[in-house]
Amino acid sequence: MPLDNAPEGKRKFNVVGTRPLRPDGIDKVTGRAKFGADASAPGQLVGRILRSPHAHAIIRKIDTSKAEKLPGVKAVITRDDFPDHTGGSGGLYDTLCNVMAREKAFYEGHAVAAVAATSASIARQALKLIKVDYEVLPHVTDVDEAMKPGAPLLHKDMFTDGVDPKPKKPSNIARRFEFGHGDVEAGFKKADIIVERSFKTEAAHQGYIEPHAALASMGPDGSAELWCCTQGHYMVRDVCSQLLGIDIARLRVTQSEIGGGFGGKTTVFIEPVALALARKANRPVKVVMTREEVFKASGPTASTSIDIKIGVTKDGLITAADGVFRYQGGPFQGCSPAEFGAMSAFAQFHLDNVRAVAYDVVCNRPKTISYRAPGAPMANFAVESVIEELAHKLGMEPIDFRIKNAAREGTKSSYGPVYGPIGLGATLEAAKNHPHFKAPLGPNQGRGMAAGFWFNFGGQSCVTLNIPVDGSITVSVGSPDIGGSRAAMCMMVAEEMGIPYDHVRAIIADTSALGYNDVTDGSRTTFATGMACILAARDAIKKLCARAAATWGIPEDAVKWENGYAKPAGPNAGDFAPLSLKEIAEASPGTGGPIAGHHEFSADGAGVSFATHICDVEVDPETGRSSIVRYTVIQDAGKAVHPSYVEGQFQGGAVQGIGWALNEEYIYGKDGRLQNAGFLDYRIPVCSDLPMIDTQILEIPNPGHPYGVRGVGETSIVPPLAAIANAVANATGVRFTQIPLSPPRVLKGIEEAKKAGGRKAA
């Protein structure tokens, strides 16, 4: 779908680019909006899940007899209630194993049984009555440890894929990927300076404030309804149907308002369990995760270990870049975003010689799931740290070094394709000219920057647009709205139809109302579902014009649509007074019935996205505590449909990155148990930790969208880790190679550097 350009250049917009109030707003500020846990059904039971206390154990036997006898218990389920309908292999089978453990419990918190009871306290008691006979196995939670020969093996049949020759022994390394072009060895020979460093990052959780919640009801005939908070209710429907062995059409999933996802709600956890309990009890069952369960048993992102080597000439040209990216994704293969880490790591540079090798590794940790730009922030941290260090070694301003080597239109990207028009150079130049960049720094303060990249993609969307007789418009979309996308959908429809924004309402339809819609992820919704809205509006306009043509008795192609009116087009069309949308709608019962527009497609042509972040950090040299004193995000949005929500994405992503960089981490004990499964010790940033987050939206139109829109949601979490690490390095003179930059780590680094007499790496 090519960009619409007015003959004189950029398209002029009436609604897109303004900042109207969101349609779901009043419900959300008054407490009326219904989220996952806010629904109930008559006769509903409380569902609860029993979870493994062990990081790695064979489940010999599960005895549920006592629990079943407890008065008030209506259903108890285990692995026996989930026969394998998946064919026993692939990602779907792994999802089944994760939803309810089969032969083994692979991590602390892995579901092993569930109950449905008439009250929460009975359900709690029932869980205590279930006896599980475990054979505890050695475990491994660290990615480097898991890769070592002799590490506790999670799967006896896992032989590393993607290496030649095929390994003879099983290991925890599921796959090896390699990307790149040119000849890195030859490139390093041309280098005058080479920096090579190893990095580690800890797992972070998406940290949405709403725990997973599902309300299921299912009859003995297999007809089922599910209400849940998810980023993709069509995905939930398809996966649950397959896991439970029912026809997709029998399961209707309604998406509640969703209290944050950030990638963490792009799979199923409790939904199939709620359905299986409801089937067995033949009563509605509500399952809501506790916060502890959210941390222990829903998806964090990967922890990583990364090596980076980059070579440059004396005048600051990168000759070669090489990296090894080891990501653990929990107990199942293909869950870590290792390949996206490797693909995105060097994407912001114009490189003749580049190689990125990724390893997907399994560990006794929860099954990881996407987290905002999956895999990219960790890789970016490693690469942009080395870039900063190289700039210092070259005696070059880091920003000039980045500009000199920046990818541009026509650059062959590090992951393969050649870039079209991209905004990286523009964000770097804007950063250089930003007042923040020149502002003076106080004592113990340092400034850091980093540029980051995310792919973005489109995917499947299906939209229906209905026009009632008063000429107002309802748009039904199937993409869950996490951050205000309904407002963006209404705006694009209003823009296309030439009517005011508040004449359009958007709803998220349930799975029986529309064709398949992909999950709200990959920064795809405003781009892809938005484009479907535009095309559905164009479809409706065609029909409106046809009605006007029929009314006037002229050919359909002699009618054009302009600012909400059908008008005769051209001198031969005749002279008719324009018909408004309202007039055509009012007459519709007599001119052929209701008027609707549709569009369904798989959107492609999502433009890649770049951002540059600048950050000032103050480090207390006596305690190692870092405070963010100023932060600026500059990002290309293609076209900002609702600038406030675009800014919100920039700010939210940056702050999640700040949390990850400074304090958020999964802390495991020697027993393989998570030590900090709560908001008290899993420290996401609080309001008083932060300054205002300045934003600058650049608009370099995406040629793949009629308005030039690019996805904006994910890129903003990519640069913060590196920007902050660079700022801390500049404030302390110590280069830190581990995330998070927690005070004990930073203080230790400072103390060791003091002893060593100056700059060093920690």
Binding site: L680, S742, P744, K748, E751
Partner: protein, 286 residues
Amino acid sequence: MKYERPTTLKAAAQMLAKEKGKAFILAGGTDLLVRLRTGFIEPDLIVDIKDTAGARSIQKTASGFKIGAAVSGAELGENAALKKAWPGVVEAANLIGSKQVQGRCTMTGNLCNASPAADSVPALVAAGAKAVVVGPKGKRTLAVEDVPAGPGRTSLKKGEIIESLILPKRAPKSGDAYLRFIPRTEMDIAVVGVGVNLTLDGKGIVTKARVALGAVAPTVVLVPAAAKAIIGTKLDKAALDALAAACAAACNPIDDKRGTREFRIKVAGVLARRAARIAYKRAGGK
């Protein structure tokens, strides 16, 4: 589980003494409810003492301040006289949790949870505060530092309830301060906490001092050596160095999710210096 809300402490003490199962006292409930909800405790009886006489009042007496067991952090912060006399204690109490938690949490509860990381306790110990205990055998008074017996354990006997905390009358030219280290700016448990209380003479020389540390040992510890390090000084660099060294020496912390042993020892000294300087300034020193 039963819930009772007696109107006298005596009745409360009787209920607690009589209960055969597990009984807990509820004042602010900000820890009790968390433990209850996470299944960490399964009480048979909860005795809410908020309606007992004096539980929610702060009385200024000739010998100091008497703070009822159910007085919330927010109420402490709103009492101008108390804040003026014992700014360090009030600040410490106001560091417990968020504004939401401040509306409920109490210093007595903070003390009775017997967490080594309790924020108000080092400040209370430094202040020389006392706890008035009511029990089946009558009243007794004990020093605050004698209440915690270990992590999560107190020296209180079955049926005993702390009725109030007593802060002594403020001597002239005195000041106190409490500082803690947390990685964020709010909503964290102290990784290290330091309470300092001191009195100066006319020349600005420290004549009396008490220093207490939190989160560096199984219980909050009073560090006489730290006090000794600054008594007789004007908090010059050497005195502060000696103070930091004494604090570090008194630390016996563990490595845990909140911080390393090494980090805690180092930061205890850093915070002691900073807290001492604040207390000194508050006492009128320059």
